[in-house]
Structure formats: structure tokens, C-alpha cells
Amino acid sequence: MNCEEATKLMDGYLDSELDPITSQKIEQHLRECPKCDQAYKIHGSLIRVIGNATPYYKAPAELREQIQSSLRDAVGAKDKGGIGQPGQLSVPRPQGERRPVLSHVPWNWLALAAAIMSGALITAVFLPRMRPPNADQFLATQLIASHVRSLMANHLMDVPSSDQHTVKPWLDAKLDFAAPVADLSSQGFPLIGGRLDYLNNHSVAALVYQKRKHFINLFIWPTTPEDSTAQTMVEREGYHLVHWSDGDFTYWAVSDVNPSDLQNFKQLFEQQTARH
């Protein structure tokens, strides 16, 4: 090993990060070269002394408390989401509970612009028909609330059956309309039951499908003049809502599966029921 190589490897050697063979070569060179040996010694002691003398900024005690408290808030917010009452679901976001810690920074105006743009895009693509916002929000809130409620307290199904010929008659008997029921188990969405639900002041059918470990609630009711016939896909609070209509019935599928699965589900359901 020559001086140039030894100089290049100096830091790795002093940090004991070189392989044993290279280390041995360096040691041999240092024994033979007083100049390099001297340079190594000086560099080594400087690194050590500087390293030791560099101020170490310990965290102030209040910071630990702040972090613990904001972590508790984060958990508390999750709790609220899990066990909240339906009425709370319209505001599941814990406002102010998690301090936006970088708020004194001009935090990314691009993000704001992007948010506005994507909002506008959603408007343009999915929501051509303008409706009173309160009613819209109300329905979405109700749908998610109903979905959430159905997954709690063992009220997912009134009629647990994977047989559409059991679920359909049961629902028909309870409702004043005959909701279409499709069996999609061969396509990866097994029907696991049906349920009566109540939305927008009328009884609706809720079909429960499964996709892997996730559930899909499909709400069905006869289309009324107020119902939109436009297809909609909305994301809210981590849920996806897909809406479509076939003239007779209005459908809303709600789930936490990914959007493409939910779209796929919608298409399969449409294909199946179109044949009936």
C-alpha cells in the first residue's frame, strides 16, 4: 500500500470500518512510513477530541411531555373513531387535537394549490350536478355511519347467508321493493348476508359482501326524483363510496377496500343484475 491509498482509507481505518485484510495492509504501511503514521495519529486524536467536545443537545423535559401528550391525543382520536356514536361521524377528524407542529413555517403553498386543484377536478369529473351541500354531506355521512355501525356490535347482518336465494326473499318480505341480489363469490366478492337499514327517511336494503378481510356494504333503494343518476366515486375518511343507478334502483357501495376493487365490484354487480 502506498501513501495515497493509506490517506484515502484513513477515516475508515480510524473508525474501524475496514475489512481485516485492508486494515492489516494499512498497519503494515504505518509501520514503514513515519509520515503517514504521524498523520494518522494527529487525525485520530483530533477526531476523538472534537467528537467528545461537540455539544450534545439533550431534549428539554417539556418536549418529552409534549410528545407524550400529542401521542395520547393521536390514540384518543383513533378511539373516538372506533367507538364513536353515529352523530360524531360527520366530524371524525380530531380538530386541534394534534397540533400542526410546523404551522409557523409557510407550510407548502403548493399543497394548498394541489388540494384546491384536486377538489376542482373532483367537481369537474364526478359531480357535474350541483346539489345543496348539506344534503350531500348528510347522505355521505349517513352512509358511512351506517357502514361503520354495521361493523360494530354484531349488526352486520340480519340474515347471514351466502345464498342469494335466501337473502333476496328475506329482504323482499321486509321491504316494499324487491332489491336485486347478486352472487359474486366466484369473482372474489362472496355475499355474506343482508340487512335492513334506514337512510334518508326510508327503509333500504343493505347487502354485505366480503373482499378478503374487508366488508362492502351495498345500500339499495328505489330511485326517487331526488336521487342523482350520475356515477360518483368519493373518498372520505379513508372510506370509498361508489354510487350508481340503473334506472329502477339507486346503489351506494361503501367500503374501506381500495377504489379499484370497489369499482370492480360495482361492474360485476351491474353485469350480474343486468341479466336478471
Binding site: E17, T232, E237
Partner: protein
Amino acid sequence: MALPLKAAHASETEDFESSRNIVKFTVFKGSDQNHAQKAELASFEEALLPHLDAAHNLARWLLRNEQDAEDVVQEAYLRAFKSFGGFHGSNGRAWLLTIVRNTSYTLLKKNSAADLTTTFDDEIHAPGHESVSPATILENSEDAELIREAMDELPAEFREILVLRHQEGLSYKEIADIAQIPPGTVMSRLARARGKLKEYLAARIGKEK
């Protein structure tokens, strides 16, 4: 009245002010969910709160500002908690420091981009310090304030690597993971950082004389 969601609402969910606050709204079926969350928090705190000083020290050196450092560390802990489920490694400190480092850089980039990469400061590199011998540097190198000033003049990538190696004693492999550079680059960057730090120290000592 069944109506589609309207734009006003859609943009509200995308709303930037709260977007960083969105807690994924998860449904739990069991009644012991509350319990599970508390247990998760407890194991998170047990694994990562011991590294609070390391997190704070790195953020403080990177940002050179106490308030920013505290904000970043708090943000980093919340981020870490959110993705704690995906953390299966044993090296909690390196994992946390990676998040602290990335959060710090996000803020640094907002404040000024100039600081991030290696720049050669001709003024500090002014002639004169060549006369300062290594022995003189060594004599002064226990002066914490002098070291702090010299460190603060270094670019962020040098401050970062010096903190991780000198103060945290991390291996080159760990440093490569945290700083997101190839392992082969660690030694050369560390050498350059040390060389630059020595230069800056020499320049300061030379000026004081």
C-alpha cells in the same frame, strides 16, 4: 333525498390545513380495541422515547434552531407512531433518526435550499490558517463554543454525518441508511466533513490570534 356529494364537500376533505391531521378512520370490531391501542402506544414509547435525546440532538444540529428542532422532533414522533405498525426492525434509534432527518430536511428545503449541499466558502477558507498547526487546533479543540461555530458553518450533509458518527457512534451501514447514501460514500463524505471541520476550526483559531 339522496344526492351526490358536492364539490364544496369534496374539497373540504382535501383541505390542506387539516390534511396533515387526518387520522385514518378505522373501524374496530372488538371491544378490546381500546386496549390494543394503549398497548401499542406503550410499546412505541418504550421502543422510541429512549432515543429522544438523539432525535433532538440531530434535529438541533441540522436546523440550528431550538424551536424548529422541537417542532420537527414532535412531528417525527407522530409520523413514527403512525407507521410504527410497519416497523419490525430492532434498530429503533436508526429508524427514528431517519424520520427525524427526513422531517428536518423538509423544513430545511423550505427555509433555504442553499444550505443543503456542499459549498465551498472562500471567506472562511481565507489564507492564514495554514500557519495554524494541528497541535494548535488540538489545543483549542476542546472549546465547545468554537466547535459549535465551526460545525454550524458546515453544510447540512456534513453536520449530519458528523453527528451520526461522532455523537451517536453509528456504523457506516447505519449512517448510509439514515442519510440515504450508498455505503461506499460514507467514508469519503465523513473524511471530507472532518477535513472541512478542521479547516473551519483552523480559520477561527487563526482569526482569534
